[in-house]
C-alpha cells in the first residue's frame, strides 16, 4: 500500500518553497520570491498555508521602515519533507 503524498507539500509552489528552505538556515521572502519565480501575492498565500501547517516559521519585522519577512523550516516541516520524499521514491520505484 502506498503512502499518500502530503497534500500540503504536493503543490508546485509550496514544494519549491520547502525544498529551498530545507537547504538553508533561513531566507527572506524576497529571496524565495526571486528563486521560485513567483508573485508576491501567490507566495504570501502559500507561505501562510505552510505556516498554518507548522512546517515553517515566519518572522515579520521592520528594517529601515520596510517590512522584512524571513522564513525558516521547522522540525515538523523537515519530518514532513522527508516523509514526502520517501513516499515519492516508493512511487517512482514501482513506476520503473
Amino acid at each position: 500500500m502506498f503512502k499518500e503524498l502530503d497534500p500540503i507539500l504536493h503543490s508546485q509552489l509550496r514544494l519549491a518553497v520547502m525544498s529551498l528552505l530545507i537547504s538553508v538556515k533561513e531566507a527572506e521572502f524576497t529571496f524565495i520570491k526571486e528563486k521560485t519565480n513567483s508573485t508576491a501575492g501567490n507566495l504570501s498565500v502559500q507561505v501562510q498555508k505552510l505556516k498554518e501547517s507548522g512546517y515553517i516559521e515566519v518572522n515579520k519585522q521592520f528594517k529601515d521602515n520596510y517590512p522584512l519577512t524571513t522564513c525558516k523550516v521547522t522540525p515538523k516541516g523537515i519530518e514532513a519533507f522527508e516523509n514526502y520524499v520517501k513516499a515519492l521514491q516508493e512511487y517512482l520505484q514501482v513506476g520503473k
Binding site: S11, S19, V24
Partner: protein, 210 residues
C-alpha cells in the same frame, strides 16, 4: 511559478525538489575573492620581508606590521558594516554561519600565535605554527564546501609548515610561508573564483533562455 493549476506528477515533484536544492547550493558557493585577497596580502608580506632581509631597507617586521595594520583596517570596516549599517544577507545558510564562527576563531588563534612570537617562541617557529593553522582552516573550508582543491591544498600547506619547523633561517621560513599561502589560498581561490563565474554565467544564460 504557479500553484494548484494542475496535478503534479511524481517526476515533476522530484524535478522541483532537485531544482530548488541546486538553487540553494549556489548560495553556498564561495566566489574565492576573500581567499585571493588574503592570500596575496600574505604572499606579498612574505616576499617583501625576504627582499627586506637582503637589502635591509627597514626593520625586519616592517612589512608584517603593514600587513597587520591593513588587516585591522579591513576588520574595522567589516565590523562597521555589520553593526552600524546593519548589513544583512537575504539568505542565511548553515555553511555561512559556520564560516562566521570559524573566521572569528581563526583570527583569535592567529592573535595567540602573534603573542607567542613576541613572548619568546621566535619568528621562525611562530610562522611555522601559523602555516599549520592555515592548513587546519583550509581543510575545514574545503570540506564544508565540498571543494577538493582546498582539501588537497590543506595537506600541502601542512607539508610546508612541517618543513618550516626544522628551519632556523627566517628567510627560508618566509619563502616556505609564501609557498604555503600560494598553494593554500591563492591557487584554490582562483579555481573557486573561476568555478563561481562559470556557474553564475550558466545561471544568467538559463534565465535569459540562451
Amino acid at each position: 511559478m504557479h500553484d494548484n493549476e494542475k496535478e503534479l506528477s511524481q517526476e515533476e515533484s522530484l524535478m522541483i525538489i532537485q531544482q530548488m536544492i541546486n538553487t540553494a547550493k549556489h548560495e553556498q558557493k564561495d566566489d574565492g575573492k576573500g581567499w585571493i585577497a588574503w592570500g596575496w596580502m600574505l604572499f606579498a608580506a612574505s616576499i617583501l620581508t625576504v627582499i627586506n632581509l637582503r637589502y635591509k631597507w627597514f626593520d625586519i617586521f616592517f612589512f608584517w606590521n603593514m600587513f597587520g595594520a591593513v588587516t585591522l583596517i579591513v576588520m574595522v570596516v567589516e565590523l562597521v558594516k555589520v553593526f552600524l549599517m546593519k548589513r544583512t544577507t537575504r539568505v542565511k545558510t548553515y555553511t555561512k554561519t559556520l564560516f562566521e564562527k570559524l573566521n572569528a576563531g581563526f583570527f583569535i588563534c592567529i592573535m595567540f600565535n602573534i603573542f607567542a612570537i613576541n613572548l619568546g617562541v621566535g619568528p621562525a617557529k611562530g610562522f611555522a605554527l601559523l602555516i599549520g593553522l592555515y592548513g587546519f582552516w583550509i581543510l575545514i573550508y574545503g570540506t564544508a564546501l565540498d571543494f577538493k582543491p582546498s582539501v588537497i591544498a590543506s595537506f600541502i600547506t601542512w607539508a610546508f609548515g612541517f618543513i618550516a619547523l626544522f628551519q632556523t633561517k627566517f628567510e627560508v621560513v618566509m619563502l616556505l610561508h609564501a609557498g604555503a599561502v600560494l598553494v593554500g589560498y591563492i591557487i584554490p581561490g582562483h579555481i573557486a573564483n573561476r568555478e563561481f563565474k562559470k556557474l553564475t554565467g550558466r545561471k544568467l544564460n538559463q534565465s535569459a533562455g540562451v
